[in-house]
């Protein structure tokens, strides 16, 4: 099972940006932890980060054919990335939207996700474990013994 693990704008700065909100781990550390976790579950992660909406769409179009699911933290594109939203729909893959922080408890504009309506679900506020829960969920759809 192959899962696309997508990080939107500014998430390459994890570990440096507002740590009280986003935690201390760098994106490389998080990707490492997730790949190890996925490996144990028998899954394969393809991580990707870009600060450009267009590049993420290009990536989705190129890679989605050989993948089985998508875990995405759209960063601030969450709130206006309608093109990204359409690209996610076009993949035909199950999408789980994740956020490190609880976007429902922050500034007003962060409560509105334009991606959520086309995702299977949304996980937020669990720190980097939001990603882990999403990966597990996608695996569980193939492996009944994974919760």
């Amino acid at each position: 099972m192959k899962i696309l693990l997508i990080h939107g704008p500014n998430l390459n700065a994890l570990g440096k940006r507002s740590r009280e909100i986003y935690g201390n781990k760098s994106l490389e550390e998080i990707n490492g932890l997730l790949q190890q976790h996925a490996g144990e579950l028998g899954a394969n992660l393809t991580p990707f980060q870009s600060n450009s909406e267009g590049d993420i769409i290009d990536f989705l179009q190129k890679e989605s054919g050989s993948a089985n699911g998508i875990v995405i933290n759209p960063g601030a594109l969450t709130h206006y990335g309608y093109s990204l939203r359409d690209a996610l729909v076009d993949t035909g893959l199950p999408v789980v939207e994740v956020h490190i922080s609880n976007i429902h408890a922050r500034e007003g504009f962060r409560r509105e996700s334009v991606v959520a309506p086309v995702a299977i679900g949304q996980i937020c506020g669990l720190g980097w474990r939001s990603y882990a829960a999403a990966v597990r969920f996608l695996v569980s759809s193939e492996k009944q013994d994974v919760y």
Copy 2:
């Protein structure tokens, strides 16, 4: 570690109500799966369900003193249960809000959660696995090897 597992109005009808939305498992089955899962993780669940907001608040006031975290699916109280919200804050415990369905992709009124701003995070759309991910998350704050 003791976790309060709270189900709001109508969730005692799981397995019978709109199965295309909420799945086939009964509340008892879900509680059973979750308790088994929690047990494997070394945690202890105290499930509670009520159709009355007042009863849930009573339960929270009585039980929160001996607990370490709360997993709650507030049912439709999600959208107007300001008293429940205040009671959750008063416990001083970490709260994870869960929903079986993706509330962001349903009727407009279901997109607004009055509970989310006082929770650590929200997980929705993963079916009964929304609960499982929430339990895992609460355990992971104590056990570093749990993702």
Copy 3:
């Protein structure tokens, strides 16, 4: 044919509360008139009143299995009782929402019914006869000669 006849908060005060709006008949008198009328039509009414949303949901869950329809005046729960709404959907029964007064000609908040979208129809403003019309309608779905 068995019909659940449900009265929400404060309706047990009928006959005493704002008579210029709600009329002079007590809830007992109204229930009596309706039962007599239903009897003539060959139907059976099970009346229930509570000031608590939770109790009404409990009643619906317990009684709906043996009933054929629901006539409900949700009282002020009309405007925020999303849990009641979900419970009504869960019964799988035809629901007719009634109001003694014309809720569309009163304060702004009374014009919005969160129950109406899951009911077959809504009858308001006919005084206690709003109930009578609802009962007749439910009977007519079984008896073609009843208008």
Copy 4:
């Protein structure tokens, strides 16, 4: 007792238009059933349909002097027919607003009735029986033994 029975725009197409919403009966059949039913109750119906708001106002001005009540399904004028609303007030007669479908469970714009605030009550969602219930109610104000 003489009752004006008014049907707004497009209701002359009943029986042909969206049957899953409006039912299979033609306007003539409905008028016939209602006249028979009214006759049994000792009342007299004067049916009128027009696709033009102005014509309905003309009719109201001409006929209301000799009538005792009005049953009206304003069709889509329900949502913007402020002139019709004023004309109904001017008659000084009791008005019952009816709708075949449950307008509260359809598109957003159909939930707002500009006529309801000047009516005695509103009945919707009972199919053609919405009219029947309205007629019975108007008769009951004269005949105490009619529910």
Copy 5:
């Protein structure tokens, strides 16, 4: 100087409809007073009333070529008569909008006029004298000694 004096829906019922709001004079009496007043000022009135927006537009298209100004009380069309608004613009004539009652002190929907933005001015609340003031104003644009 020829002035079109247009009365919208329900204004033919003046003298009978809600007298505490609209006064005791009939439309005929008002037209008479205005024609006398206009005559003294050397102007000529062409009165027209219809309950139908379409008829008023037809009238405007036919008569505006030979007229010098328009005094219009659009009745409830004030609030939604966008077609009437377009027709008034098409005449190329100066338009004064009048209302017998103070529309800014009544129900919320009456405060918004879709006609006002294409009129020279609006006069409301002066009873039938709202018309008289409008007629005087149009005359004053030709006769400098009329206030």
Copy 6:
């Protein structure tokens, strides 16, 4: 008959400010024309202008006891002068609100008058003749032969 003629902020600049909107006449010229016109009708005007809401309220409290009516152009206070509104109500006198320009055809904020709901009527868009029409109207309530 004594009428208070009140001009709000910036109206002392009439004749100099945006002439395409407000015309070429100075406030003194307008007051002169109005006093002459009022004199012919047998009425007496007491003009007052201030750029300060507080001063206008002071004036109203001091002078209203000996007056029979108020003509007021509140200037931009029209849109937020709630204290002025209260002061006008406190006088117990009939108030006619006037505007030189058609406030309903300008910027959005100018369409809302907080004064209009406590006035008898509103006249706008007739240039300085808006005042003249208001004065005539107040006189006509005492002199039946004035239109």
Copy 7:
């Protein structure tokens, strides 16, 4: 193939009304050009214009049975003609909404079309060619070689 070509209120004034917006061609000229164009494509147009919403609904009810599609410029009814909207749905025919001007670039109220949600598409801003494009489209659904 027979196409109903419907023009709403004020469109009979084309060629005379605001030419900078609506162009110089009269409605007769436009109908002529369109009929010639349709003829070349093997289609047949039935033009109709009225200033009255009710008359357009009457026309639709009478003619739609023998037609294959509708091209409609609802004029200002675009913004409030809910009865017209219902009538268009009732025809069961494909509807293309056209506007001569770009309604999305004019006053705010013109951006909202109550007709668009029940049409196949909307064409605006192409001048009279908006109609031509709509006719071609309807023909192309029958003739594959027509673009």
Copy 8:
């Protein structure tokens, strides 16, 4: 004089919940201070607390017959307790709404009180003295020498 002293959801946790907002006194202490104060003024308090809206309504219906006034802190029901509002109206007693904190300086949802429009007045932000001021006020309506 007998006054009902009602505390809504979560107020039984006073002294423990967010002390920086609600202060250090327990509900028992506050009730004690108020009863002592009322005693000195010659009045009698009947305190009641519940986390359930239904229970408060039951209490009001049972006790209001023998009482002369109501002091109520509705807790979070302030913002959505329409059933409670109706019950308060039904008592026919003077109601004073109190809040320990200044609800107008907190989250947006706390600024809207659905109870206030049916109360005589509202007192907030004075800590437990909000209750004391309300009690004094109710007593003062009987005893002229109490401020």
Copy 9:
């Protein structure tokens, strides 16, 4: 202890203005009663009234240095007096906002207070006793035996 007692626009008309809302006592009588009451509690009142927002700000800037608290009824400035709000904050003193009438039960615009968010609390609807309760509260912060 010195308390500034500030009355906003139109409050100098108390006793004459709408008595059914504001009561029969004049401002002088109220000031007298309050000064007597304050004297008994050992406090000193400095009353001030103005119809001008600017004058009230001047007074606050000059007098607040020597005062210990502020009781203010901002009159209609409550709803738009942002400058007054800033001036109150600048004093650094505890502020209690009072209203004679229950502003939450009147016109919509009166429910919004721009002052409340910078006050300690708000008291409304108790007639002139709203002031008395505010004075007592400010004194009680120095004298523990005053409720």
Copy 10:
């Protein structure tokens, strides 16, 4: 005549994405058909697609100097691409906005176009023929015999 034919994000996936909405033709097929069609009309198309708003702006800045018109389907940028909008204005060329589907009959957010106010017109819902109609329109401005 040279026309820029611009496709926004995700349109390179045409033929694969939601075919019931967007049809079966690939972007290459559509471009081919359009180029053939344009050739027959004597015009020249320069197609361009990108998933990045920035790249489209770069393209517009480089190519618009030698072009005569623009046909653009902005994809989801339609709803938030204010930078694209500014770039279109800067070209000084006539712009026709096209959409394959009827954006007015889909999700709410798709009804708002930030591009439409700066375009000549908008064509939607005609499938790939929306493009064809736009091309034809631009050609027709040069060639009178093209409809």
Copy 11:
């Protein structure tokens, strides 16, 4: 070159009011620094401060005839001073609006400026240097070598 330097309500308290927002310099110090800076640039400042909107309008009317530009910090009048806005327009002078703090990053009501639409530009958040930048800008329109 003569520049009017206007400070609205509460700005005379600079140096004392909320220093963390408005800085430590008094208004006199700021005026001094600005006059020195303006002198070096060859310009002349006329400072004015008032807590009353009316007084500022009086000042503008009296002084604007001999001035070449206006720098204004309207204080809280920024958010509701429509009369001030009109007065600024009437001067016919270039206006630069300044704020010491970043009004776009504070309470919601501070983000809306009713003055900005009639100013040349707005400078905020630079502390007292917001004024300096505005003065330099006005001078630069006369002296090309000043940036």
Copy 12:
């Protein structure tokens, strides 16, 4: 001192685009003037322009480590560039937002800046001098003798 000078989409077209709004100077000329001015003040500018939000974020992440401040004109990204906003926060540098035109006096959408809440201040409407004032301000934080 090193300052990043960032220009968003379409600003490379300065000097060509709508000159009546944006002026005649090209971006190169503006950058030249600013660098000269900064040089005189002892500061160093690093200019950057891109039409792509992603590229600007990349630039910020790479260059902010060695810079002391940011002057940014986000172009139309001002209104929806939430990713850019986050990137600006992540730099930890002082940011001044500038606009050539007065965005508060143009289309409604241009009045809302999503960047302003995370900037120190905003300068708009001064033409290219908006940049100059921003540069001076950043320098003044290091050099006390620069205003």
